[in-house]
Amino acid sequence: MRFLAIAPLLAAASLSGAQTVMSVYNRDTHEPFVLKSVKVESTVVGPIVRTSTLLTYDNPYTKLTEATLNFTMPDAGALSGFAYYYGDEYVPGQLMDKSKAWFIYTAITSRGRDPGIMEQWSPTQYHCQIYPIMGGRDLRIRLYTLDFLKPDGTKLALPKPEVPIAVGYEVKNGDHGKLDWSVRSVDAPSVTYEGDGYSVPRLGESVQAVAQRFSDGRTYVAGIFQTPDLPQGQTRDIKIIDARYEAANQPDAGADVTNQVQHIVDSGAGAVDAANTVFGDPAPNQIKRLKVSYSVDGVQQTASTPENGTMRFRGPDAVPTLEIPDLRDLKTVNVGSNAVAFMGWVPSNRELIAQAGGQKFEFRPQGIAQGSDLARLWAQQMLATGRFSGSREVLDFSLKYGVPSNATALLAVPSTEMKLFREKEVEWQKQEAERRRREREIARQSRGWGGRGGGGGQNWRAGGGGDPEIRVNLTGAQSADARFADGRVVPLTPTNGAGPAGGSGGGTPSSQWGGNFEIPASEPEGTYPVQVEAKMADGSVKKMQWTYQVDRTPPVGKATFAHEGGHTFIEVRSEPKLNEVAVFDEHGKKWTLKEVSPGVYRVQLPNSRHGKKLVVVMKDMAGNKGEITCSWPR
């Protein structure tokens, strides 16, 4: 059983300067896997960078092992793919409904225990389990991510990937692995290597953007907007009001670091790293965050950054609110002290106008080859900040764009397990179909269709045939059958509640049982018994009987005319409670008679004649029809 089950998924590699991989360790022993190599391949496309990261860890275990992997994602980035290697086989992950992924994973995994909790601590933090890892073979994981370049003065820098050599369950501060990092550019200026990182020159405009058509027909736009730098010598007054470095899931476990953060800010740094190396570890074995309330030039703000992230302090006007009126569903993310990444879509690429701080900036996004990169960057932000009406909408959205969410999981299944995977997938689909069907049936029942409302219990066929219903109150029944004169036995089913008494469904046992039966089209006129036999929860048998009638006799009657008060009436005498008595003239006009007393039906006719002939039609409840032809009264 070789599965890689990844919770709301997969953190991306690095591109924000934040730590990508936080810890990789053996789930049984909590010992870290030691990093052997990190190979990173980056492709710059305009202000966007695609990165493929191959992480190789030493696996000292000779038997099957499970690994836990924790990731963080950059704020503006998105995951575009995940895979691992089972031996030499490259196994890509499939994004799917999280409940489906868990169903398959837990049904097949033979570890005999809960494979673990999949949690999304935030839109940027993910937890992943890899099981099993082939004994004696390295653990190799590949991540595909998208992110924005980071403005850095006159350059746009590629954030440097950072992966610790060994960080286990008990978090240890490990040195970072040495990178094998290659970069190329497409539709962008040449990349230069300087110091320990790569960058491309900034083009000089305030807005740099690219546009890409997605399979849904929309053109998605992503770019970076930068405000001009502050004039030389101008600084901002940053005051730290309150700062805590605390456990993300248990805020009480933490430390007050207000003075330390203020000291860092006063030293001229515009940013603080949220790391144990800075503040110590006030909550061992827990993922932490730095939460700061502060003011910039008197304007109060609050910010929170996960462990190993960087918090930047900026004033209210460092990056004015960005508006791009023609860019639909605009999303923005700060990517620097004076830069904002933005994403949205248009029906087709065109000139756009960005508005910020009272200024307008015209730009035309650079078109790039059709694909899903920009759509995914936008969808990631929609999932992080958008409003959805329910988990179903989140799931559909997530699957459409191939972006992880709290409703999805990635499941990677090696080819040797695909047969079992497909069987379990089919089983899950059947379960889901049955669940949806039950929900629909319950919803229909609650609408009270059974002959009430618009239907009125119409009998569809004249003269026989149909689908009558049985509805019986049988509180406490375990099963019930309806038995007919022709020998048929039709099982009845619960029509409300959770099911039979004593059943495993839980909830309130059903009190009403029902089913449909047919009356053969050629069944002769007569009275037919129906017997219901129910086995009760206490072991007794309850019997009920009634009859139905097949009526094939048409009604007969007599029509007369009356003149009263200057008006003409037609009166028909026939059997009582007919379904309808109507009279038609030669022009097709219809008058419906009302039953004024049992078996007497009457309606007023116009005084002037409408032709010579009148036809009276009488219909009983069984649909049998009788006719009377008469003439207009003189």
Binding site: R440, G454, G455, A462, G464, G588, K590
Partner: protein, 415 residues
């Protein structure tokens, strides 16, 4: 023009037919082999498999083995007569050992209700509401029978790509013989296939849309969308779909529109036909109405349409509009004039065009109009519950199954 009365109800060879044999009411030993009486007809065990015997559907009892006499669900008694059957009256009762299946201590009984049992060599056969089971050392084993249908009384059929959608009293299924998936448990009234979609009208008035290409079902599509979300029929009218309801109808084309004319207030729309801006509406109590360019015309017993219960409509230019009624037979409307059409049946349930010929489905069979004469289609004179077309074949669903009638088969039938 019309064949003789039903003293001979023959199942002619052999258009393909899908039947359900899952309800087994009786067994008998006939010429040394077990024969089962099922909802789909008779089955005979040949030592290796169960094979259908040519017989009507809905068999309840096997009264005698030689001659073979059976009783149907409507209590008619038939005697085998060569390849066919003759209706007889008989008090013949069969006396055969009927071992009690429950007396065999084989652990859990077979599923369903046990109607009957019979010995077959060293084993016992049990006929149940869910099939035939044979006793083995390990318990009951379900016998494989040639059931092609998931439901015993289909009311609707549609072929969408490689899959088939069928519906009946027990709900709706999609798939193909021996491989069905139930998508609804509600009794089905009508199914209409349009392109890759199908529309299911249920007996309770709800309407579902099925998109087989996307494997999706859209439940109760009119709930919350129209004033009266209760449907009685569906028809294709040009590029749009029309859904009949209580006192009016809905049309789904570019937009969803509803019409509730006061003339049919309180009535039920049973059939709809249309062309351009004209709509012909068939009702239960008001006969036939035509709504065209703001003008209304009506036909009923007062002016030539003897039955107010219109069951079906079929637009067949240049002949006009054919009108089927519940007890009054067939009519044709040309312009404003309606006239009866000679027809072998008075109890019409469905109308359709097939190879430009009119097909009449009725309570007592299905018939093909050939000029001024009629041919009875080989569906065993059973009640027609739906008409459809798959390729060049006509599909007739009846009370006992689905018949696939080729044009050649239809030409070979008697006038």
């Amino acid at each position: 023009m019309f064949l003789a009365a039903l003293t001979l109800t023959i199942l002619q060879a052999a258009p393909a037919v899908w039947r359900n044999y899952d309800e087994v009411f009786d067994f008998a030993t006939v010429r040394g082999a077990p024969v089962a009486a099922t909802n789909g007809g008779l089955l005979r065990w040949d030592g290796a498999q169960w094979l259908p015997l040519s017989s009507p559907a809905g068999v309840r009892r096997i009264l005698s083995a030689d001659p073979l006499m059976i009783q149907l669900s409507d209590e008619r008694v038939l005697r085998q007569d060569g390849e066919g059957w003759t209706v007889v009256t008989s008090d013949t009762a069969r006396s055969q050992d009927r071992p009690d299946a429950a007396s065999y201590k084989l652990g859990a009984p077979p599923p369903g209700y046990i109607y009957c049992s019979i010995r077959d060599g060293d084993s016992l056969l049990a006929g149940t509401s869910e099939g035939i089971f044979r006793s083995t050392a390990d318990g009951w084993r379900r016998e494989e029978v040639p059931t092609a249908m998931p439901v015993s009384r289909p009311n609707g059929f549609a072929r969408l790509g490689g899959d088939t959608l069928v519906g009946g009293l027990g709900g709706a299924w999609v798939g193909f013989p021996m491989h069905w998936e139930q998508i609804s448990k509600q009794p089905v009234r009508q199914i209409l296939g349009v392109g890759s979609d199908a529309w299911i009208v249920y007996g309770n008035g709800a309407v579902d849309k099925v998109d087989l290409s996307a494997e999706r079902l859209y439940p109760d599509v009119f709930y919350g969308a129209v004033k009266r979300p209760w449907c009685s029929c569906v028809a294709q009218v040009g590029d749009s779909l029309a859904f009949g309801g209580q006192g009016g109808w809905m049309e789904r084309g570019a937009n969803l529109t509803e019409r509730y004319p006061k003339e049919i207030d309180g009535d039920v729309v049973m059939a709809i036909a249309g062309r351009d801006g004209i709509r012909w509406i068939g009702t239960q109590k008001t006969g036939l109405l035509r709504f065209a360019r703001g003008r209304l015309a009506a036909w009923n017993p007062g002016n030539g349409l003897q039955d107010t219960w219109v069951t079906s409509l079929c637009l067949a230019p240049p002949e006009g509009l054919f009108v089927g009624t519940a007890t009054g037979g067939l009519y044709r409307l040309m312009g404003d004039s309606i006239s009866p059409v000679d027809c072998p049946t008075k109890r019409i349930t469905h109308l359709a065009l097939w190879h430009d010929r009119l097909v009449v489905g009725a309570m007592d069979g299905a018939f093909l109009r050939d000029g001024d004469s009629w041919r009875e289609l080989p569906t065993g004179a059973e009640e027609t519950t739906a008409l459809d077309q798959v390729g060049h074949d006509l599909v007739v669903t009846t009370a006992s199954g689905v018949h696939f009638v080729s044009w050649d088969d239809a030409q070979r039938t008697r006038e």
